[in-house]
Subunit: 304 residues, 2 copies
């Protein structure tokens, strides 16, 4: 293998089936997705977990890319796979890729969105370009010590395409179509950045991660109240002060904590986050002026 422009990863979580299916159809039918002159490499993130039909075997692969973990002597399936992906496709690997696009799905009703980790200029350029084309919301994940080690952080540029709602273990045409559209928009932005034709909007709208909320739990750590039904599918809509928040089985309702009012929830009731004790994450909507340095960084990466 030689170096390549874009590493397209699907099945980083083994029970998210739609992106791996799309990639395999693309393998069989190369014209399915126009790579616009970019060289693309397709990989299944966690083939062992996919074979088992589970999110992961030993630990979440998409929390395993922490430099200190990777440098340690841990031998969990996912740590070994993370090292292998970096050795093969990482920036210092055998055949490096410039950009990593990691395709995910969620059980939350978030529609199509982008997840960006931190504030690297090239990432913000890519997200801004896609927001200009498709209007997708951007979830900016940062400042959460409990959630680190994401795959795309180890490449010079990269983001997650997140599509939902879809249950784990379900193939659904709508999710495949949405994933393909977002992927094609990313490729278009990267291709235009290389050719110097990249356009960014004046402003980037981000939903910046603040913190996460858990359910109410009993003395054994089991939920004693669930999300109120009125919250179902309300990702990206600001929470109202005093709105219903949790519901016990007997119908009693707890209202939203005061400090969550007017913040915007994402990943509401994502199945995989229950074990992380995340019932939803709170974000603040911010409008950032787009800096010229962002597209310059992306162009430099694609030209280099």
């Amino acid at each position: 293998m030689t170096s390549c422009d874009v590493l397209v990863v699907a099945g980083t979580h083994g029970n998210e089936l739609n992106a791996p299916w799309l990639l395999e159809q693309w393998d069989r039918q190369p014209e399915l997705i126009d790579s616009l002159g970019l060289s693309c490499r397709r990989v299944i993130g966690n083939p062992d977990a996919r074979a088992a039909g589970t999110r992961y075997l030993d630990r979440d692969l998409n929390r395993s890319f922490q430099p200190e973990l990777l440098a340690g002597d841990g031998q969990e399936v996912e740590l070994r796979r993370a090292r292998e992906l970096l050795a093969d496709h990482g920036p210092s690997g055998a055949s490096p890729c410039r950009v990593a696009l990691d395709l995910h799905s969620t059980t939350a009703g978030m529609g199509s969105s982008l997840v960006v980790y931190g504030r690297r200029p090239a990432d913000l350029a890519l997200a801004g370009g896609v927001q200009r084309l498709l209007g997708l919301p951007v979830y900016l994940h940062e400042s959460d010590a409990a959630q680190t080690g994401f795959l795309v952080e180890r490449w010079p540029c990269g983001l997650v395409i997140e599509v939902g709602p879809v249950p784990q273990g379900v193939l659904e045409s709508r999710v495949v179509i949405q994933t393909q559209l977002a992927l094609e928009a990313c490729l278009q932005v990267l291709s235009e950045a290389r050719s110097g034709l990249g356009h960014l909007p004046r402003a980037l709208v981000v939903h910046r991660h603040l913190r996460s909320l858990d359910l109410l739990r009993d003395e054994h750590g089991q939920p004693s109240a669930l999300l109120h039904p009125s919250l179902h599918g309300t990702d990206w809509r600001p929470l109202e002060a005093g709105a219903p928040w949790l519901r016990r089985a007997d119908g009693t309702v707890l209202n939203l904590p005061e400090d969550a009012a007017h913040l915007t929830p994402v990943f509401i009731n994502e199945a995989a986050y229950a074990e992380k004790r995340i019932a939803l994450s709170l974000t603040r909507r911010e409008v950032w002026p787009v800096l010229p340095t962002w597209m310059e960084a992306l162009k430099e990466l694609m030209d280099g």
Copy 2:
């Protein structure tokens, strides 16, 4: 333990979380559900699979209640559990229950429904009574040699309460509420049958299982086309002749097989049925006159 009226089973599939949560809340708060004078026993169907967060460990518990399998020497986790449930609570068990209610959820958009196996008069009386109270659709499962060995078949009377859509591994208030309502309706019908106050409608509307359809598959057995997005969530609505049926990744569409037209689909894209190669099941809507022998059979069972 002495004998009891109703065995309420939840978590027969370990990744269906809502009914087990409801039962545990009921344990803690006995007045949560009014059992109307009936003695109810609550059990978790497959606690090992629940602890593992999977549908099952060795084999589907709710296909393990075939008499010849149970009598054999198989030692799979679920066969041992099926024998245990029957030894403890079965009609010839240590402390027999008259009726078994098995609480399930589905990823399909079916709403609340009842699943009845075969045409036992007491089952039809119970289903008819609930349909009178709540209008729930009844899926009559029979004549499918590939799908046998359901739990409730081993009790003198029993049915499945099925609620969806909800992803596997997700707790959702709406699903808990719907499960509770359907369970309470069952208890009301059973209680009224005992007291001689049972009322049935003139007719029972059933959706009788005919057969199942699979996706299109390639030479490796992998899906090469998925359900068309227009089918999503259309359970219980008759299929139109020539309607879109499957969609390939390149957007080409295959239309519905002619012999499926006007039949009614259920369990559309249920996650757990992918491994069984069931993309949906086809039913025929039928209106059956209610026979007086149905309620007589249920009353006799509850009185005996």
